[in-house]
């Protein structure tokens, strides 16, 4: 029922879980080894540097690893939902033939394989990068040099456990999704859940559609905002951390920023387009031009993206400010101030990429034949 090709399609999950485990492997392994040399810390300067490195590692693992993990869970659920929607009738037939929800759901544990591939890759890359990472972290000479040790527990916590947990989550989520009558699945006649949005009698159709589309899917608003937030925060932070981080750490921030924001926004846009296919199809049947459909469906999220960018910028500024003022207060580093040059470069990249993405999705919508959209609605 579920083949290897389906697993390959989940590149987003593989990449995100890989990034999460790569970061966690490097920083956690370093933290474990660093705590092992605490008895060798003899001076105040060494202690400050030690505390700063410990704190940085905890923040990076907690914030970046945590965000990536959360996004991976949501992406996994999204892929399962898409899979169930696409194979609705086959699943309905299986249920009609007498297969229980559990016996169907347990096959979905195979989705955990994508997490296994990602986490294992992240772990292996982390191990391969370990020596270089330690060298970079210790090159300032504040701390005694030590070599990386192989901590087996990390393999269990970062690879085996997530694979099992994601496999179980896949089963539970599928089980929940399959809890409908088999006929509903076969015919696709399940009751449509519609969130009532306050209707203004004087509002024209397009304005009301815009409001409804926007308010109905708050999760999409969150994801689009979050994706731009991650992009703005991590890219600007990477550029601005000249004296606070090594080139390796900066590159990691760029890569994570790009991966996290790309996967999240593509996921959100695909969901948005998928949700609005029927509305747009019917609007085109009635004679609404594509530009009107785009304006009231896709463009309404632009403001969210801008707000996400603004919050990301503010967040990275205050995070760096705190790091400089609190974490690195006893370490000699240059004065930190807001980097306008980096801000404008990042803003420019964001504007171009976002508009290209909107253009891509409106072209994608435009290319779908009306007949196909209508047949899809049956």
């Amino acid at each position: 029922m579920i083949c290897f090709k389906d697993i390959i399609r989940m590149v987003g999950i593989i990449v995100m879980s890989m990034c999460a485990v790569l970061i966690s492997t490097l920083f956690l392994n370093y933290m474990i080894d660093l705590s092992g040399i605490s008895s060798l810390i003899t001076t105040v300067e060494m202690q400050s540097f030690y505390d700063a490195q410990m704190m940085t590692s905890k923040v990076v693992v907690g914030v970046t690893g945590g965000c990536l993990l959360l996004t991976t869970v949501i992406t996994l659920f999204f892929y399962i939902k898409i899979y169930i929607d696409n194979h609705r009738s086959e699943l309905g037939i299986l249920k009609a033939l007498g297969y229980s929800n559990y016996s169907i759901s347990k096959k979905f544990s195979i989705f955990g394989i994508s997490v296994f591939i990602g986490t294992l890759l992240g772990y292996i890359i982390g191990l391969l990068m370990m020596n270089y990472y330690y060298k970079v972290q210790l090159e300032d000479g504040y701390l005694p040099v030590f070599n990386p040790s192989y901590n087996i527990e990390l393999l269990i916590y970062l690879v085996i456990l997530p694979t099992i947990i994601f496999g179980i989550l896949s089963i539970l989520y599928t089980y929940r999704k399959l809890k409908r009558p088999s006929l509903d699945l076969i015919k696709g006649t399940e009751k449509i859940k519609v969130k009532k949005v306050k209707d203004n009698d004087n509002k024209v159709f397009l304005e009301q559609l815009k409001t409804t589309t926007f308010k109905e899917k708050k999760s999409l608003v969150f994801f689009i905002g979050f994706s731009v937030f991650c992009f703005a925060a991590l890219i600007q932070m990477g550029f601005s951390m000249n004296e606070l981080a090594s080139p390796l750490m900066k590159w990691m921030m760029y890569i994570i920023g790009i991966v996290l924001s790309s996967v999240t926004i593509i996921l959100a846009m695909n969901t948005l387009v998928r949700n609005q296919r029927k509305s747009i199809g019917m609007m085109r049947v009635f004679g609404y031009q594509m530009i009107e459909c785009r304006k009231y469906v896709l463009d309404s999220y632009r403001i969210v993206a801008y707000i996400g960018f603004a919050f990301g910028t503010i967040y990275q500024y205050f995070l760096l400010r705190i790091m400089v003022d609190v974490v690195f207060k006893d370490v000699e580093i240059p004065e930190y101030s807001f980097n306008f040059k980096v801000f404008f470069i990042t803003l420019g990249i964001f504007l171009v990429v976002y508009e290209l993405l909107i253009m891509h999705y409106s072209r994608k919508l435009n290319k779908i034949p009306i007949k196909e959209i209508m047949l899809d609605s049956v």
Partner: protein
């Protein structure tokens, strides 16, 4: 006047090729009520899609007076549908996240029709303006789709098995309303159905099978919705 000239349409490729329309010719006068009658798979839906500008044909042309819609671009076709065409489908295709009022406004706003509520009243849904499609029965949903189509004041109304999903009583009342309104407003109706009884309401009955028109019948005494069999 609608002139349909030598329409061909094929789906699939190579060995899977299916010829759906094989040289269809038909003329429809303004204000006429035409029913295209045929069994499932006869090509009637494809013909309706092509004549209404929803789908392109492989060969042939469709004229609305002097405008050849088969040569229009997608954008021009959309504009043409906006100004001339109304649709009523068997599956209603209402926007589930909008209430009755806004679903009807979808059509009304295209022609700035401020009196659209009169149509909602006429179809008997004025007390359900704020209801959502899932809160309505099949017949009520179809009436919303009728109001949506009529609120844009179409010159030609296309109906694809409009009573296919309805019970007899609701089906008759809907057909009665549409035919009365058509007589009053004088717009053209092109309806496809496989139900021979419904066809008796039309001025012209076009029988189609295997992608060809096999018979065209001029019906001098069209029946009303309560006179036909079901």
């Amino acid at each position: 006047m609608i002139r349909i000239k030598n329409i061909y349409k094929t789906y699939g490729e190579y060995n899977n090729k299916v010829e759906v329309l094989n040289g269809v010719d038909l003329n429809i006068d303004d204000g006429e009520f035409v029913v295209i009658l045929g069994p499932s798979g006869s090509g009637k839906s494809t013909l309706l899609n092509i004549v209404s500008g929803l789908e392109k044909c492989d060969k042939g042309s469709v004229f609305y007076n002097d405008i050849e819609i088969t040569s229009l671009s997608d954008k021009e076709l959309t504009m043409f549908r906006r100004e001339n065409i109304g649709f009523i489908f068997q599956q209603y295709y209402l926007l589930q996240n909008l209430n009755v009022d806004k679903n009807v406004r979808m059509g009304a706003d295209l022609v700035s029709n401020a009196d659209y509520k009169e149509i909602i009243k006429a179809v008997g849904l004025d007390d359900k303006l704020n209801k959502y499609p899932y809160e309505l029965s099949g017949g009520e949903q179809q009436r919303v789709s009728i109001a949506r189509a009529l609120s844009k004041k179409p010159k030609v109304l296309f109906l694809d098995e409009p009573t296919g999903a309805l019970d007899e009583k609701t089906g008759r009342s809907i057909l009665d309303y549409i035919s009365k309104l058509q007589k009053k407003e004088k717009f053209t109706i092109v309806m496809i159905t496989h139900n021979e009884n419904i066809a008796e309401m039309a001025n012209t009955i076009v029988k189609i099978n295997s992608g060809r028109i096999i018979e065209t019948i001029n019906n001098n005494k069209p029946k009303n919705a309560y006179e036909i069999g079901w």
